[in-house]
Subunit: 230 residues, 2 copies
DNA sequence: CGTCTCATTGACCGCGCTCAATCGCTGTGG
DNA sequence: CCACAGCGATTGAGCGCGGTCAATGAGACG
């Protein structure tokens, strides 16, 4: 599959490119269970860039393991995280020919990727794939609108509470949440500062709503109290 | 086309249903120029509900004339507007089997609607339609992420400025903007209060960035100043 | 002319940001 | 084994932006 060499992944330095080609066909990328497309596999270290804003959107990505964030930087350095992606999630489907946000690895992670043209070909040949792609984009839209609700009309405490519930739902560990991301990431996702996030968490701990055995480990002690805030 | 009677539009009272059936096939709904599907046409008065949150999403809608808002209400009455739709825009594609937001007419408007199942059938038969639907959802996603940026990381003045630029782009009237929506709508879209929106506009007028011949009519006098804020 | 609705303006207050110090964990070298 | 950075998280003090409450203004309509 020489074409993977002709359009290497943007983040691919020469060494990595060899790894990509060697790794090609090592895995497959499933579109919502509809079809499995032969895919390349790449590894990214913590905070490494997967793609940048305005880069051509030639690939579709799927998280195999680890966590990814997509975000945009405003002129003066303010950062807004649009979404976190966990194992099994597809990303890079944000439409258009160029990415509208950047993507980075929150933790070390494994990413499966296929060229967008291949996905589009599969979709044009198989209506089930096409429908799955539509559904995926629509789900993304729904999540983004949920995010809009969060940012537009909720207090700091409510935002952090909603975030914890979202994380608890994502990594179904029951009441125990292992946060993959730093306070800075959480703040930039919730449109707050790290200090406000930290204060909200401390306040919740004081009220026995959560336990904080360590900074990255949260235990929900009173789910009921969060539901009230929603 | 009796099926339109079997699954009437949710907002259809008996009188309206007759009008709908009478109006069936009066128009067509184009999906991104790809295909024209026979469509029903309905009229909605100012502030009339088009569909409600949690109602089954049986239809796909396209604005023929007028302006539509989609929004969600939080428990305590706070409202967040997700999006405004203008003539030519499709809405109600928010995925899932049930709508995730409500939709209302901002102004009197004409809406073309087709049953979702028809759109899905068209998509399964014609890859171009399927691709257009994907693209539409992806565009919606991009706009929602833009909205997230706005709400997460921008000051009141920046939000109002971005809103004016967005409206100017939507209704290409050059520097003159005819606002279809009230201050309350603007505030609920930007995650602000009407007082703050009003103050921001007055401040811009004082700085000669805009002229405000009337509350609903804005003229951009210094586009450059807005670009700086972005 | 009076009423109703929507927008503007003012006074005040509180939430969340800013700036800054401290804490706590982790890894590294003496 | 302890000392010491180095980094992220927490906590505190003070302030400013935007929210709240309230009064006034400006159009639209009967």
């Amino acid at each position: 599959m020489l074409s993977t060499q002709i359009i290497p992944h943007p983040s691919a330095d020469p060494d990595r490119r060899i790894a990509v080609v060697a790794g090609a066909l090592q895995t497959t990328l499933e579109i919502a269970g509809a079809i499995a497309i032969p895919a390349m596999k790449m590894s990214f270290g913590r905070n490494e860039e997967i793609f940048g804003e305005e880069e051509p959107a030639d690939f579709v990505y799927k998280v195999t393991s680890g966590v990814v964030r997509t975000f945009r930087i405003l002129g003066d350095g303010r950062r807004q995280i649009a979404c976190f992606y966990f194992a099994g999630d597809l990303f890079g489907l944000d439409g258009g020919d160029a990415h509208s946000s950047s993507a980075e690895a929150v933790t070390d992670c494994e990413i499966a990727l296929v060229r967008r043209s291949q996905v589009e070909r599969a979709a044009s040949q198989n209506p089930v794939v096409a429908h799955a792609l539509w559904r995926l984009a629509a789900d993304g839209l729904r999540r983004a609108e949920e995010h809009v609700m969060l940012l537009g009309r909720r207090s700091a405490g409510e935002r952090v509470g909603a975030f914890l519930l979202e994380m608890a739902a994502r990594e179904q560990g029951g009441e125990a949440i292992d946060l993959a991301m730093s306070r800075t990431d959480i703040a930039d996702y919730l449109g707050l500062t790290i200090e406000t996030v930290s204060r909200a968490l401390s306040e919740m701990e004081r009220r026995r709503m959560i336990a904080l055995p360590s900074a990255r480990h949260v235990v929900l002690r009173d789910r009921h109290a969060f539901a009230d805030a929603a």
